[in-house]
């Protein structure tokens, strides 16, 4: 039986994590179909059909799908679920919101946030904020699985030519209405996919002081992250939060500044390839996961850091 992946998109482009989920889904079964639910999303259908790992694109196009509402997506997915052994999507806020609604109606016990496909029914997933790894085997006949996108490489985008099949819309839910979305536009790389991430914590002491972080981020072409404490304190907006209940990032370089390293923050960044911690408290738990620790006052260290970076002839982008 084939596997069905639910695409995340904005009617113009595929969201990057869908490509990571495609890689994971293809490890479960190579006969991978992608379901695209959208409004005037022909461009998205075309780009999905060009992904070599995708064997078929099912495209539902209707104005009721202009905004993503889990209730409406669920009805559309259920119409096609019976033909598939697995229903899959990424474990970001899109998939976390959607998949359990689908799973419940199919009477399936969902496997959330997998980081490895061991076999089509057995997966590795982190529990307790990544402080333990569980190998789990799903005994349901059909499976609903969400994928931790940063644990899988993004699939190649071009070279394929899968068939696009247009299918009909499902019923609309009358009880949920989209009002608006405040998307913060930024020229910086996305937090989830950036090669370098620099994050600030409560040690920054104010939102204005985050400028010290942004200056370095500009120099390194890095994304900006934050600890929950910094977001709670209002220094920076929620979409920057890294941690167990925020975003999980796995950059080549993660620089934690003024972050003590609470368990729930470590859950979101400790798989990064190289970790730097800058903190004036030498006992801070963040140092236990840092490859390079600098015990220093960040208000002195960050301007110096920028100065040293400026001295370098080249910086990798």
């Amino acid at each position: 039986m084939s596997v069905l992946l639910i695409a995340e998109h904005n009617n113009k482009e595929v969201k990057p994590f869908t490509l990571n989920a495609i890689t994971a889904a293809s490890l479960i079964d190579q006969d991978l179909h992608v379901l695209l639910i959208g409004s005037k999303a022909d461009d998205v259908a075309k780009s999905l059909s060009e992904v070599p790992l995708v064997k078929k694109v099912l495209h539902i196009d209707h104005e009721i799908y202009e905004n993503y509402i889990a209730e409406n997506y669920t009805a559309a997915i259920l119409k096609h679920a019976d033909k598939y052994s697995h229903i899959i999507c990424s474990a970001n806020t899109f998939g976390k919101n959607l998949m359990p609604r689908v799973a419940a109606l199919l009477d399936i016990s969902q496997v959330s946030d997998i980081i490895k496909v061991i076999s089509p029914d057995t997966f590795l997933r982190p529990i307790y904020a990544g402080n333990a790894f569980a190998t789990v085997k799903s005994n349901d006949e059909k499976k609903c699985v969400t994928i931790r996108p940063t644990s899988f490489e993004a699939a190649e985008k071009t070279g394929g030519s899968a068939e696009i099949e247009k299918i009909d819309a499902a019923d609309l839910s009358e009880n949920t209405k989209f009002i608006n979305r405040e998307e913060i536009k930024s020229d910086r790389p996305e937090l989830g996919t950036a090669r370098i991430v620099i994050s600030g914590g409560r040690g920054l002491q104010s939102g204005e002081n985050f400028k010290l972080i942004t200056d370095v981020a500009d120099k390194l072409n890095a994304a900006i992250g934050a600890s929950r404490a910094a977001v709670d304190a209002g220094y920076i907006t929620n979409e920057h939060q890294v941690g167990q209940t925020g975003k999980v990032v796995v950059p080549d370089l993660y620089i934690a500044v003024g972050i003590s390293g609470a368990i729930q923050h470590l859950a979101g960044m400790k798989e990064s390839k190289v970790i730097v911690a800058i903190n004036k408290d030498g006992e801070a738990p963040i140092f236990s996961v840092a490859d390079y620790g600098l015990e220093a006052d960040l208000f002195e260290a960050l301007p110096q850091f920028l100065e040293e970076l400026n001295k370098l002839n080249t910086i990798q982008k």
Binding site: A104, I108, T245, V274, G282, G293, F305, E308
Partner: protein
Amino acid sequence: MKILVAVKRVIDYNVQIRVKEDGSGVVTDNVKMSTNPPDDNAIEEAVKIKESGKATEIIAVTVGEEKAQETVRKALAVGADRGIHVKVDGIIEPLAVSKILKKIVEKENPDLVFMGKQAIDDDCNQTGQMLAAHLNWPQATFASKIEVNDKSLQVTREVDEGLETIEVNTPAIVTCDLRLNEPRYASLPNIMKAKKKPIEQINASDLGVDTNPRIEHIKIEEPPKRKAGIKVASVEELVQKLKNEAKVI
């Protein structure tokens, strides 16, 4: 308006998790247990809505072993009116919990069901959405702001891109994010008063819900350890290491 709030007992968020050597799970003996943090936000929000005069009754419900009752008692101490404890031993998956909660909703007829967006033990993030599906109710997940209107809610949700606002008609399910509010502490007099509030005990088996796990836990292990790092003496040394040793900049 009646609000049902579901709470879960988990290992306290400050406890360093230890994995059992036989791979069967994590150590829970003599470990501090608490209410799942975003469930505290769910209770707090319900209490605030009641204080504003828009709700008349708050019922706290938990599903779990004997001691899970402590979380209901804590909810009663911060303002819930009465409690329900659905007793079940052993591992219970979100799917089964959602079916149990559906039975409780059918019995109590609340207008709203609140709970945390995710439990910090299994990190599944499923129960609220599953309950909404079983009831065919709208769902507003990851809520950081809730505005209660006559027959609807306006909910601001924390999503990857920033904030999203949706309107859901009641009855509805809301799963709460940590920034929804600041949970209050129970005062001593309220803790004493809570001891007199009723907690109804129900056996899960009496509800006719199949609670057998569908997912086998084959092995629980420690994640790979990071190799120990070094402390650098200066910013200059740090930049040199990043450039020449780690080769990441």
